[in-house]
């Protein structure tokens, strides 16, 4: 499988008051060209450390980082600076220069790489047009809303034609509606420019809305990673659970409670009706969560079947036979 970003076994330890903080422990990631890869985790999980390690704003203690075929961890300082131009980055708090206009901010990367004045002008206007802010070119950041500021941040990151876009909680400082519009913009850029995106977030909604693949980071370790569709059909996947929260399993003595996860082709068949008819079961639906992920319907339903799991064995096997993931969550005797 080709990869644009390849992180191998990186670890990072910070000295702290009570000894040391292991911000990252042996983390490996593979991001395929053209995909949006989301890293999700709680505050303090090491997400920022991970994303900052990819353009070596934070140099990992061990391990390698390769972007677009170039091993960044092996480069000397001046070549690393040049290589960083291949990696655009957007920040939670935008990090715009207050003293520069919108256009001046976007031109910063081109000034750094030594582009001519004429080229800076035309390229920055072109990219401002792409993010829908051409009319604000002469404004100062203080005159913009949060969403507009992040559009400038995105334009600044894209102006040097990077191969990869890194996003560190780009929407966490924004309200839900603006969050959606920024995510849509990232998706548009991903499709139109074919740009690979690695984003980190603590919000499951962000993963649901735009990510093709995801990784769950917990205490500096990757717990799971894979394409969102494949994670959904992985038994016991924490990410799948978080994507489709069904809550606590209620106590139903003598009955069987199962979680049925379906995705892709199985989603639009009348599965439950068939089950009830074929096996003459009084199926109760305890809960359901359905999402469109990566253009596919996917979801999880919690069903209650009368009788012990042993009694319902045939029905469960029939469901599995149709390609569904069935987990028995209640009713073990």
């Amino acid at each position: 499988m080709p990869t644009v970003i390849s992180v191998r076994n990186i670890s990072k330890t910070f000295p702290s008051a009570g000894g040391a903080t292991h911000a990252l422990s042996n983390v490996s990631l593979e991001v395929a060209p053209g995909e949006i890869f989301g890293v999700i985790g709680q505050s303090g999980a090491g997400k920022s450390t991970l994303i900052r390690a990819i353009n070596l704003l934070e140099r990992p203690d061990t391990g390698t980082v390769t972007v677009d075929g170039e091993e960044l961890t092996a480069l000397p300082a001046d070549e690393l600076r040049r290589a960083r131009r291949k990696v655009g980055m957007v920040f939670q708090h935008f990090n715009l220069l207050e003293g520069r206009t919108v256009q001046g901010n976007v031109e910063l990367g081109l000034e750094i790489s030594g582009a001519s004045r004429a080229e800076r002008r035309s390229r920055s206007l072109e990219i401002l047009d792409l993010v829908g802010l051409a009319h604000k070119a002469a404004s100062f950041p203080a005159e913009l809303s949060g969403g507009q500021k992040q559009r400038v941040g995105i334009a600044r990151a894209l102006v040097g034609r990077p191969k990869v876009l890194l996003s560190d909680e780009a929407t966490s400082a924004l309200d839900p509606e603006t969050t959606r519009s920024i995510l849509d913009l990232i998706k548009t850029i991903n499709i139109e420019l074919g740009l690979t995106v690695l984003l980190i977030t603590h919000e499951m909604d962000v993963v649901k809305r735009v990510c093709d693949s995801a990784a769950l980071l917990n205490g500096g370790r990757i717990q799971e990673q894979g394409s969102v569709v494949s994670l959904i059909s992985t038994p016991g996947s924490q990410l799948a659970h978080d994507l489709f929260p069904l809550g606590e399993v209620p106590a139903h003595p003598g009955d069987t409670v199962i979680d049925v996860t379906f995705s892709g082709g199985t989603a639009d068949r009348p599965v439950i009706a068939q089950l009830a008819r074929t096996y003459c079961l009084d199926v109760s639906i305890l809960g359901a969560a359905i999402q469109t992920i990566g253009g596919n319907q996917a979801g999880r339903t919690r069903l209650q079947l009368p009788g012990t799991p042993a009694v319902n064995d045939e029905a469960i096997r029939a469901l599995r036979g149709q390609g569904m993931l069935v987990e028995i969550v209640g009713g073990h005797s």
């Binding site: 353009n55 704003l57 600076r81 040049r82 290589a83 960083r84 131009r85 990696v87 655009g88 980055m89 920040f91 708090h93 990090n95 715009l96 220069l97 207050e98 003293g99 520069r100 910063l108 990367g109 000034e111 750094i112 790489s113 100062f140 950041p141 203080a142 600044r156 990151a157 040097g160 890194l166």
Partner: protein, 252 residues
């Protein structure tokens, strides 16, 4: 004793004040230019050589960065704590070396500059420390060199508080420039000493005070206007706060 009713008193006063003001402006402006030229880089290096700073490991040596930082801190603190009168006298050999003499208006520029540089460097340091580290990170992510970070991010983003710091520096240079009058340094201080003090002319004294007051007011008004022009944010308030915290007069 001077007689205010004599016919040549007012033309004489006018002439003396013109010359004094001219000398003061000359001393202050030359001292200011040198102060900014030296103090700005010094302030940048003061911040940069701190652990974790841009220049924390010059020439690849962390040790060197620490030593440089300690040394500069020491020099700046020394420069700020020695009373000006003492500094002026102590610098006489140095002044003679640079200017050829230690008496007169030009010679006075040397101690004025020496006292103002650490003062201004400290203000540059404070102003640059206020710049959000996220901005440095953004520039680094775009592949900026250290020099580009200084010239495109740190200095421009700290411009407003630095201008206000500069105005505070000028005010104190003006203060000190009045003191060099004591050693025949010329300027308005010299007028106050020779006419106001030695010849009991209250009118001279009052005139000098008014001129210095107007100079300082005009300067600060101009600096405030300039600082506002360069701060395109709701950050004027913050700059003003920074400047207020910096308005600590050096020991005399």
């Amino acid at each position: 004793m001077i007689d205010p009713s004599s016919s040549d008193f007012w033309p004489g006063l006018f002439h003396v004040l013109m010359v004094g003001t001219g000398q003061t402006l000359y001393m202050v402006s030359v001292a200011l230019v040198i102060t900014v030229l030296v103090g700005l880089p010094l302030g940048v290096v003061l911040v940069g050589t701190e652990p974790g700073g841009l220049f924390s490991a010059p020439f690849g040596s962390r040790r060197f960065g620490v030593v440089a930082n300690r040394l500069l801190e020491f020099v700046v603190n020394l420069g700020r704590s020695v009373p000006f009168i003492i500094l002026m006298v102590a610098l006489i050999p140095f002044t003679r070396l640079v200017v050829g003499t230690f008496i007169g208006t030009t010679a006075s520029i040397v101690p004025l500059t020496v006292v103002a540089i650490p003062f201004f460097a400290r203000m540059v340091e404070i102003a640059i420390k206020e710049v959000d580290s996220g901005l440095v990170e953004a520039a680094e992510s775009l592949g900026a060199t250290r020099w580009q970070i200084v010239s495109k991010v740190l200095v421009p983003e700290a411009l407003s508080p630095m201008i206000l710091g500069m105005s505070t520096t000028v005010t104190s240079i003006i203060n000190f420039s009045a003191m060099v009058g004591v050693v025949a340094g010329g300027g308005l201080g010299d007028v106050a000493v020779r006419f106001g003090y030695q010849r009991y002319s209250t009118i001279h004294m009052v005139a000098v005070i008014i001129i210095i007051f107007l100079l300082v007011m005009a300067l600060q008004g101009f600096a405030n206007w300039l600082a506002r022009r360069f701060s395109h944010q709701g950050r004027v308030a913050r700059s003003a706060r920074t400047a207020a915290s910096m308005r600590v007069q050096p020991a005399l």
